[in-house]
């Protein structure tokens, strides 16, 4: 008891291993400066094969049309929308860590924010692929944008699909800017350590001549705070608007007001699982255990527990409202989800999303790195199935004569697996060429970064007595 009280009053240090400013620089820059390891090259090779698979699948899709997918008449939206929502959702944890936890002054975020923001950007790139390619006539994809054209046409702003175009592209742009602003001082560090001309020029150009002047830091910190304040409502709006793609329609099982908060909770849930899936092996491979500590992992597991429980509550509430609404179509849609042809998917979803996170009530499991990794994989799977279950509401619409069963084709699968290839290709490039931990920010949370740190005063007093 005394021990746990002590933990609460004096939380464990944010950075372990007794680091100095210089040793943080070394530990993070070493990853970039060393020659790529065999493991990295092997992983990069595999990821490249995946990315190539995505390219081939897209090329075949453009050549042949959406008929290569398993779409049928009632199910006009298949894996493309499932994958889109899956990837966008994953991105949300990155913004939550970088923006919302920043506003709440959660200093532990500094070790993982760079990492999580990179994940956000690459996940949103993967997400954007799907609406981009599923339009059918790919050469007309620019019709989604309000561009003046010789046909005198403008997009339909009454459609939630168009709101989504604005929401996701804004989200991508703002996340990229946020990430870049955070990277500038760290790329300046890499520039100043560069051993060869190419690295010097590349990091020099990217860091824009940042030298750490305090007048610059002053504007920089204000800009960073503002970006966090802008990204916070933005991230909540993005999955809200993604949920409007469904909720604004009149399909039973979709037309519900619980969708926006339920989607946002699910997005954060899945995103934190993905952060852990990536962070647990990376910290081991690159020796970042002093920065991404068990405390970080435990904190993230707590967020998974909270959001997972919210998601479970939403599943229950959907059923309650379906019954309470007394709409036979609404009631049927939910009974069909749980006991119809897709009941297998429904119960995978419930097991992975509702039961799995409950293990994190136990501190032993929360602080166990291996268990965290395994459970995070279950959450990733469960959240993909959640979007699949929601989308498959289409398969039995109002008219029984048009009911059908949707099954993916091989091209659906190669496109989805290929999107992981694209994601990991980008992620591995990031790990190798950019600082995976925010160097300047981590230095800023060391106790000796505070000019009023007691160590300096003791030192001072000693010098004064000698002199």
């Amino acid at each position: 008891m005394a021990q746990s009280m002590n933990d609460t009053i004096f939380p464990p240090p944010l950075v372990e291993g007794g680091h100095s400013f210089g040793s943080i620089t070394d530990a993070v820059c070493r990853i970039v400066e060393e020659k790529p390891t065999v493991g990295w090259l092997a992983a990069f090779g595999v990821a490249n094969i995946g990315a190539l698979m995505l390219l081939v699948s897209i090329a075949w899709l453009i050549w042949e049309g959406t008929g290569i997918w398993g779409l049928n008449n009632p199910v006009g939206w298949g894996w493309a929308i499932v994958n889109f929502v899956f990837w966008v959702g994953i991105g949300h944890a990155g913004t939550l860590i970088s923006a919302i936890l920043f506003l709440f002054r959660q200093k532990w975020r500094t070790a993982i924010n760079r990492f999580a923001e990179a994940m956000t950007i690459f996940a949103v790139i993967c997400a954007l692929v799907f609406p981009g390619i599923h339009v059918g006539r790919i050469w007309a994809a620019y019709w989604m944008l309000p561009l003046p054209n010789q046909m005198g046409m403008w997009p339909n702003f009454r459609s939630p699909l168009l709101w989504d175009v604005f929401a996701v592209s804004t989200y991508f742009t703002v996340s990229l800017l946020f990430w870049y602003v955070g990277l500038v001082p760290d790329m300046a560090t890499l520039r100043d350590r560069a051993k060869n001309k190419i690295a010097f020029w590349a990091y020099g150009m990217l860091s824009l001549g940042w030298r750490g002047a305090n007048r610059h830091w002053s504007n920089y910190e204000r800009a960073y705070l503002l970006l966090a304040a802008l990204a916070t409502p933005l991230v909540l709006s993005v999955h809200t608007i993604v949920s409007f793609d469904f909720a604004v329609s009149i399909i039973p099982g979709w037309h519900t007001t619980i969708f926006p908060p339920y989607f946002v909770a699910g997005a954060i849930f899945s995103g934190f699982a993905m952060v852990l899936t990536l962070a647990v092996p990376s910290r081991k491979i690159f020796g970042l255990e002093d920065f991404i500590t068990v405390r970080h992992i435990e904190n993230m597991n707590k967020i998974i527990l909270v959001t997972g429980t919210m998601v479970g509550y939403a599943y229950a509430m959907e059923f309650f409202i379906a019954w309470y609404s007394a709409s036979p179509y609404e009631g049927f849609a939910f009974v069909n989800r749980a006991f119809g042809p897709y009941s297998w998917a429904y119960w995978i979803m419930v097991s992975c999303n509702v039961i799995t996170p409950q293990f994190f009530w136990f501190k032993k499991i929360r602080t166990n790195v291996t268990m965290t990794f395994i459970l995070s994989i279950f959450v990733n799977i469960g959240m993909w199935f959640e979007r699949f279950v929601i989308t498959m509401s289409l398969h039995r619409d109002y008219l029984p004569s048009s009911w059908d069963y949707y099954a993916p084709t091989i091209w659906d699968m190669t496109t989805f697996i290929g999107s992981f290839g694209l994601f990991f290709t980008l992620f591995l490039l990031f790990l190798k060429f950019l600082p995976a931990v925010a160097i300047a920010e981590v230095k800023g949370v060391l106790p000796q970064a505070d000019p009023h740190w007691e160590g300096y005063h003791a030192h001072h007093a000693e010098e004064a007595s000698h002199g």
Binding site: T25, R158, A188, T189, L208, N214, L227, A231, H452, Y456
Partner: protein, 178 residues
């Protein structure tokens, strides 16, 4: 080469506490064109240097208002003037359905204002700086803390400024050429 002008003087300090103290004293000595350089922002340095608040928020506000205006005008004009088509019996324009796009564009242009405003106020990109010639200065992005005084400052004088920096605990006090 003899007509090379001095840019100023730079000194290195042991730690953030010494740097903060030095900045305070240099300001109190009446210097204005001085700057401190550190690998991370130091709490309280803005006050020690006597800097006012950042102007970035004003540019953010300007960006946000521009975004909101564009979001409103684009949807209203394209839907009811340029291309009026009734879809699903909905009105040609209503602020309710216009909200998501207005919101997103407000955020987008606020973010542009914030980021480009910040770089603009900092006069970045700046590929060359006289301090780049000082080898030790490369540590400013690693673990060293510097204070520089520009020769353009009215109070700058070779002997006096050097003595002040050394008195404050500055090490490797170096003259920097233009």
């Amino acid at each position: 080469m003899a007509d090379r002008k001095n840019w100023g003087m730079v000194a290195e300090f042991d730690n953030p506490a010494r740097l903060l103290e030095a900045a305070q004293k240099v300001r109190e000595a009446g210097y204005q064109k001085f700057e401190v350089w550190s690998p991370f922002p130091i709490h309280g340095m803005d006050d020690a240097m006597g800097l006012g608040g950042s102007k970035v928020p004003w540019i953010t506000l300007l960006g946000g208002l521009t975004g909101l205006t564009i979001g409103f005008t684009l949807q209203w004009w394209s839907g009811s003037i340029a291309y009026p088509i009734v879809i699903g019996g909905k009105p040609l324009f209503a602020w309710q359905f216009g909200l998501p796009v207005m919101f997103e564009l407000t955020i987008l242009l606020s973010a542009f204002g914030t980021v480009f405003g910040m770089f603009g106020l900092n006069k970045l990109p700046r590929p060359y700086h006289p301090l780049d010639k000082i080898k030790r200065f490369k540590k400013a992005t690693d673990d060293a803390f510097f204070l520089s005084i520009e020769a353009a400052d009215a109070k700058f004088d070779l002997g006096g400024s050097k003595a002040l920096l050394e008195k404050l605990g500055g090490k490797h006090v170096t003259l920097v050429e233009e």
